[in-house]
């Protein structure tokens, strides 16, 4: 396992809130170009782990390596500079800004204009703004948004806002994209579209995707590898098929009366995935 294939490696990550250990000694590594999912019951520490990776939280212990360099404890803006982008579980768009502006904000780290360029409106500034705008429009088109560039982000319907969030994340030119429950609240057709989009992002843009997901259908059909968390600990990792048949995973879910059935209900997916694995 060389570093080039392991884009993200976490070892012994611990995050505590007061007396509560939200993430407990999680080891984790993912290969480049994969779609990787983290699942687990509510309160398992998934989002906390995500926030630790993206710099919103500082881990108390452990190391997180991204492309071979330690990123744990860096502030979020530094992490974005390293080409990691994320979306949020409860969409956090800048509602008072237009869709286009939202995406331009996403491109913040990729613009090099200075305050002086801005005030003097240098040629460099104008060219860069034009480029950024064009790129933003391309991204809008890429995620399937049309004619909404000048709309306020908050005026879009839910599905549209999810797409803007993804476009905004893509604008920062990530190599790793963290998606926090990207299909939450979507109907099956919308989820299907979203999954299609994620695959394209991976296949066409070569971006590694790490996602937290509750919808087992989505998880099982899109992920190439799944990690399961419970009580802040990683309890299992493996291919979808392995996870589906892992007894401790089933216990973690069923023991708590989990929502989506993981065993029987998604057997069809597992079969499908097994075929994909083989191919």
């Amino acid at each position: 396992m060389s570093e080039s294939t392991h884009v993200l490696q976490a070892t012994g990550v611990v995050k505590r809130f007061g007396g509560l250990t939200a993430v407990n000694k999680v080891d984790f590594s993912m290969e480049k170009g994969r779609i990787f999912s983290i699942i687990g019951p509510n309160g398992a520490g998934k989002t906390t782990f995500f926030n630790t990776i993206s710099g919103l939280y500082k881990p108390e212990e452990g190391r997180i390596l991204f492309e071979g360099r330690a990123i744990q404890g860096l502030p979020p803006e530094k992490i974005t500079l390293r080409h990691i982008a994320r979306t949020f579980q409860n969409i956090r768009l800048f509602g008072g800004m237009t869709v286009l502006e939202n995406i331009l904000v996403g491109a913040y780290t990729r613009l090099s204009q200075t305050a002086i360029d801005t005030v003097l409106r240098t040629r460099r500034f104008k060219e860069e703004e034009a480029r950024a705008e064009k790129r933003a429009e391309e991204l809008m088109a890429y995620v399937g948004l049309r004619n909404v560039g000048n709309e306020l982000a908050s005026s879009l319907p839910y599905g549209g806002q999810r797409r803007v969030e993804i476009a905004r994340a893509l604008a920062s030119e990530p190599t790793l994209l963290l998606l926090d429950e990207p299909t939450a609240g979507m109907n099956p057709a919308e989820s299907e579209d979203a999954m299609h989009l994620f695959r394209r992002i991976r296949d066409e843009l070569g971006i590694t995707i790490l996602l937290i997901e509750h919808d087992m259908k989505v998880v099982m059909s899109i992920s190439e590898r799944i990690s399961v968390m419970d009580h802040g600990e990683k309890i299992a990792e493996g291919s979808p098929r392995e996870i589906a048949s892992n007894p401790s995973v089933i216990e973690a879910y069923l023991g708590r009366g989990a929502t989506g059935g993981i065993g029987a209900g998604s057997a069809a997916h597992v079969d499908k995935l097994a075929k994909e694995d083989a191919s």
Partner: protein, 478 residues
């Protein structure tokens, strides 16, 4: 069904914007207002007509060069002429310019980045005291009794250093803004408001107290005289050569100072407006707005929130610093009384009334509040005073005006008026008279790479204008 008022106004507006109408209307009103003010230099309705006509250049739809031409005509030619005839108007417009710059600066902090600042006048004070100290005899009076100067004390600097000090004012105020900003970064929302209020009070009290052990500020006595930039007789003569026939009499050097300060103030304001517009429409401005909307999401997008907040504080402060220098020179006297909490709230009222985050809105706010304060309230009071001295009475209830209590003069209730404005604006129109709109861009409509994906549900919904004030999300942690 009768058309509603709004529909009628809409029709009127449509008419105003039809064809060449905007040009005729604007030009006509400006000229009409100008002539009326020229003929009757003290008539306030005429003056308001002139101001209203000038503002049409902004509000109606017309080509950019035409707008600019109108603006230049009004600012450089018409106002100085009217001002030379009635210096009161020049003063009103001078103050509008000063307060516009202050309000624009505060708007960067409050409107763009959503950081409430109640101590904004402190930065104005920094600029004013900077020139007040160096542009007077004060450096030689460090050991004198406050308010006294031995006869023959020289001035510390030559008067024309003033121009350099405008720039120094920018820099020093920006540094003070950074100093305040640094600790304040850890605080948000209403705590920030209270901290800045405390900071403003500290600065005012320091200015008031620093007459000992070393007499730096003269304390409550204030610093005076402060020098104005020099004015050569040639300049005055030149102005008179051109404008004397229009003004109707030669302008003295003292009166010309009013025009000079007006022009400097207008220059500074234009400079400030350009900078503000350009900052707003750049990655910095977008980042400020993003921080205002959702700081956490902004930093997840790679925006260094602290740096940008500091920047907002510094830029906002720098405008106030420049205007402070100008203020000190134009008044030749400064004292801590000018930099109270009330003054800070005054500027905040302009920002909120006009439209928080909206550049034209903030200027409108400065215009409305200044005119309200200097002209409207005062005039009503004067009018009541006139009535009180007459034998007039209201017939039906047989109320003699001279019985009207002095205590009911509207000019006495500036705070009441401002207070009510603030409350009503917050309840009915939190976004202000001219709410901030987002910039609409010409989009090229890149063809979607995959057409089948676009579902109809993504069509734009009803655009709801959102309150421009920072919308803190209650759920702090993702």
């Amino acid at each position: 069904m009768k058309p509603t008022l709004r529909e009628r106004l809409g029709v009127l507006l449509a008419f105003c914007n039809k064809g060449r109408n905007p040009y005729w209307l604007t030009g006509g009103l400006i000229i009409l207002g100008f002539v009326l003010v020229y003929l009757s230099p003290r008539s306030i309705p005429a003056f308001l007509l002139f101001v209203g006509g000038s503002s049409l250049a902004y509000f109606l739809e017309m080509k950019k060069p035409a707008r600019l031409a109108f603006a230049v005509l009004v600012a450089i030619v018409l106002v100085p002429i009217l001002g030379a005839r009635n210096i009161f108007y020049l003063e009103v417009i001078f103050q509008i310019a000063v307060f516009s710059a202050l309000a624009l600066g505060l708007n960067i902090v409050v409107g763009f980045s959503g950081l409430l600042n109640f101590g904004y006048m402190a930065f104005y004070a920094v600029g004013a005291y900077l020139w007040g100290f160096f542009g007077s005899q004060q450096p030689f009076l460090l050991h004198e009794i406050p308010g006294t100067a031995p006869p023959g004390t020289p001035f510390f600097l030559a008067p024309d250093w003033f121009y350099l000090f405008i720039f120094l004012g920018i820099i020093v105020a920006a540094i003070v803004g950074l100093i305040l900003g640094l600790p304040v970064l850890r605080v948000r929302g209403d705590y920030l408001a209270v901290i800045t209020l405390a900071f403003g009070e500290i600065v005012r009290q320091l200015l008031n107290n620093l007459d000992k052990p070393l007499n730096l500020t003269n304390g409550p006595q204030g610093i005076s005289p402060i020098q104005k930039p020099t004015l050569t007789p040639e300049v005055v003569a030149f102005f008179n050569q051109i404008f004397e026939p229009l003004v109707g009499r030669p302008v003295t050097a003292n009166q010309f100072y009013n025009i000079l300060f007006y022009l400097i103030a207008v220059a500074v304001v234009i400079f400030v407006i350009i900078i503000t517009f350009r900052l707003d429409d750049s990655r910095i401005g977008r980042a400020w707005t993003a921080i205002r909307e959702d700081e956490l999401a902004a930093s997840a997008m790679g925006i260094p929130a602290n740096k940008l907040k500091l920047g907002a504080f510094a830029v906002g402060a720098s405008f106030a610093g420049a205007m402070g220098v100008l203020f000190a020179a134009s008044r030749t006297f400064i004292s801590p009384e000018s930099f109270t909490f009330l003054a800070s709230v005054n500027v905040l009222t302009m920002v909120i009334l006009g439209g928080i985050g909206s550049i034209p809105g903030v200027i409108v706010g400065a215009v409305v509040v200044t005119i309200l304060n200097l002209q409207v309230l005062q005039s009503i009071s004067l009018w009541l005073a006139q009535l009180r001295q007459s034998d007039a009475f209201i017939p039906i209830i047989n109320f003699h005006w001279k019985d009207l209590s002095n205590q009911l003069d509207p000019s006495k209730y500036q705070r009441l008026v401002f207070g009510i404005i603030l409350v009503l604006m917050m309840i009915y129109r939190p976004a202000g008279i001219l709410p901030a709109g987002r910039r609409q861009r010409e989009l090229e409509h890149v063809d979607s790479v995959i057409d089948d994906e676009v579902d109809s549900s993504i069509a734009p919904g009803a655009a709801s204008s959102s309150g421009a004030v920072s919308k803190g999300k209650e759920d702090d942690h993702v």
